[in-house]
């Protein structure tokens, strides 16, 4: 394995400014959408008193979950001492921070009173998992920041393993915390499962790595740097394992829910008669987001970069569908004030709540992706995150 050489992406090029402009525009549109919603109030959205968390939460939670997953590559390198992943550790850490920033931005801008952020940062209720998440997110930023520093500043390289271990443990706790936001909701059948927290961890592995793959392949393609099959194939095989693991958790989640009589209603709703949610589950999450990517990654197209990229895009779309089904489908299914009884009221008791995402909600969510990619674009140009070459001769530890 040849010596690794990291190099900034040349900033003063047409391509760089194109990406900067594109991602900047998406970010600005997202913020304008947030301003529109905040100025008018949430009546301009599809959200209501039944679907309390809408599309922005789907985007925000996807980005936050993917953030901790994007750190995986660095963890494998530092914690599990796999040298093959070492060249990618910096990008992995930086991507984690960028994804978390994008996700948090969406989450905060969807608050009813984002102007009261200072209240959230100064008044705490330590019984609330949300309060814990505030510390988990800011702590993640700090720890991953230190971790990146130890990787990029030579005198501190000897601390990388320790920082990497701390970041690894922190990210596991963080995703457990994100999953637990739902796990603590006793009255909603969809969320009343201890499996949600570990399922969110494995989802983070899959979504985070899919996003990482796209950034890796994209950035090397557009900077015309060498990216060998060795590293890409290792990553895509790992990605396939994660996708299969998510499928396993989804299966166990639904089978255990079917086992208990009081959860059969919600399971039947998602799997058979939930309309859009059933469609999103089977067609987008399972077929397009899981089975097709598995075929693309492990089938004859497994060595084709375009197909690996397509698989990653599908995994992300499938992941968004999965979160849509969990978050919005879980709210749409009525809560049972009187189990076994037929219930109706002016407040939509006993009926499946209706929700259609409004344009500003989607734009705010996309803005989160925009901010993430904008940060990545600036970061790779400002600091040495990307190896100058990841050709097999450099990346493969067994290469002579």
């Amino acid at each position: 394995m040849k010596k690794l050489h990291f190099l900034e992406v040349e900033g003063n090029t047409k391509g760089f400014y194109t990406f900067l402009g594109l991602f900047g525009l998406i970010s600005v549109i997202g913020m304008l959408a947030a301003y529109y919603m905040e100025h008018n109030g949430h009546w301009v959205t599809g959200m209501n008193n039944q679907i309390i968390w809408g599309t922005p939460h789907v985007f925000a939670i996807f980005l936050i979950v993917a953030a901790s997953g994007a750190l995986n590559v660095a963890s494998i390198s530092s914690v599990f001492a796999k040298t093959a992943y070492k060249p990618l550790a910096r990008l992995s850490g930086m991507l984690a921070l960028a994804l978390l920033s994008g996700g948090l931005m969406v989450l905060l801008l969807d608050l009813g009173r984002p102007d009261r952020l200072i209240v959230a940062m100064t008044k705490f209720n330590f019984v609330s998992i949300f309060t814990w998440n505030i510390f988990l997110y800011t702590g993640f930023m700090g720890i991953v920041g230190i971790y990146l520093w130890t990787m990029m500043d030579r005198p501190y390289n000897n601390l990388t393993k320790k920082a990497g271990m701390a970041a690894f443990i922190w990210r596991l706790v963080l995703t457990t915390g994100t999953g637990s936001i739902f796990g603590f909701l006793i009255a909603r059948e969809a969320y009343d499962s201890a499996l949600l927290a570990p399922m969110f961890i494995i989802m983070s592995f899959s979504f985070g790595l899919a996003f990482f793959m796209l950034v890796l392949i994209g950035s090397y393609k557009y900077t015309q740097r060498d990216l060998g099959d060795y590293i890409v194939n290792r990553l895509k095989n790992l990605l396939g394992v994660f996708v299969a693991a998510v499928l396993y958790f989804v299966l166990v989640y639904h089978v255990t829910n079917l086992y208990s009589a009081d959860h059969r209603g919600i399971t039947a709703f998602i799997l058979t008669d939930g309309g859009i949610y059933t469609f999103l589950f089977w067609v987008v999450q399972i077929v397009l987001g899981s089975l097709v990517p598995l075929g693309l990654l492990y089938g004859p197209t497994g060595n084709n970069r375009t197909m690996i990229g397509l698989a990653s895009v599908l995994i992300i779309i499938g992941g968004m569908a999965q979160l849509y089904v969990i978050i919005i489908g879980g709210q749409a299914y009525p809560m049972h004030l009187f189990p076994g009884m037929e219930v109706s009221s002016s407040f939509y008791d006993g009926v499946v709540a209706s929700y259609s995402p409004s344009l500003p909600e989607v734009l705010l969510g996309l803005g989160g992706f925009g901010v993430t990619l904008l940060l990545v674009t600036v970061a790779v140009a400002a600091l040495k995150f990307l190896p100058a070459s990841l050709a097999d001769a450099v990346a493969d530890p067994h290469s002579k």
Partner: protein, 259 residues
Amino acid sequence: MTINIENEKQQDTAAEVESSRRNFIFGSVAAAGLSVAPGVMLYQTANARSLSDFSLKDGASSKVRWGMLVDTSKQVDWNKCVEACNKEHGLGNETNSRDDQKTQYIRVVDVTNKGTGHSMSLPVMCQHCENAPCVDVCPTGASMKRADGIVLVDRHRCIGCRYCMMACPYKARSFVHEVLTDQTENTPRGKGCVESCNMCVNRIDNGQEPACVEASDGAIVFGDLNDPNSTISTLLKEHGGKQIRADLKLNPGVHYQGI
């Protein structure tokens, strides 16, 4: 002229009748007051802590747990409670929100047993849980439980995250989806905050009963659950009562009979 004298006489007689009627009413009220007063005194003595004993200046006390007992078997138009609540808190002033976005503190729920066909209606509001999930999940402590058991939202602290709405098993909370004007003095509602029934905390602190209780023609009894001699405790002891979703072990302060 004769006619005029006649008229004056008639007016005098009418004034006398009016005066004697007034005296009669006064007398009756005074007599009733005199006869009722000892009863009231006795009642107050028996009820060591009655509503009028508490006022804002004392602050909320954990010796008290305010609760309600709803008798669903009484033939009452529960919508009168909803109207009283809306009036008290100035609800229904949204101009842009869709129906599914509008605030409701109290709603009438119709319940039908599919097996037997038996159906009933009952008012459902914030159940003022002892172990309130909305209080547990609120990141800023805006969603809080007062010492006397009333669960309410501090609207200066609420950041509008809506986690409490996700956590509430009774769907008791609403989110203000738009800019509001002409709020009532006692209920400062505003865009971007979560709100719910606060048991008319403003009235309780002034020694009055909640608006829905007042409008319920006696079908909702309000009182101190901690006081074994209070009417609500006596009724619950004698006739029992149920809490909605008691299986969740949240110990709501709102009890029901006939469900």
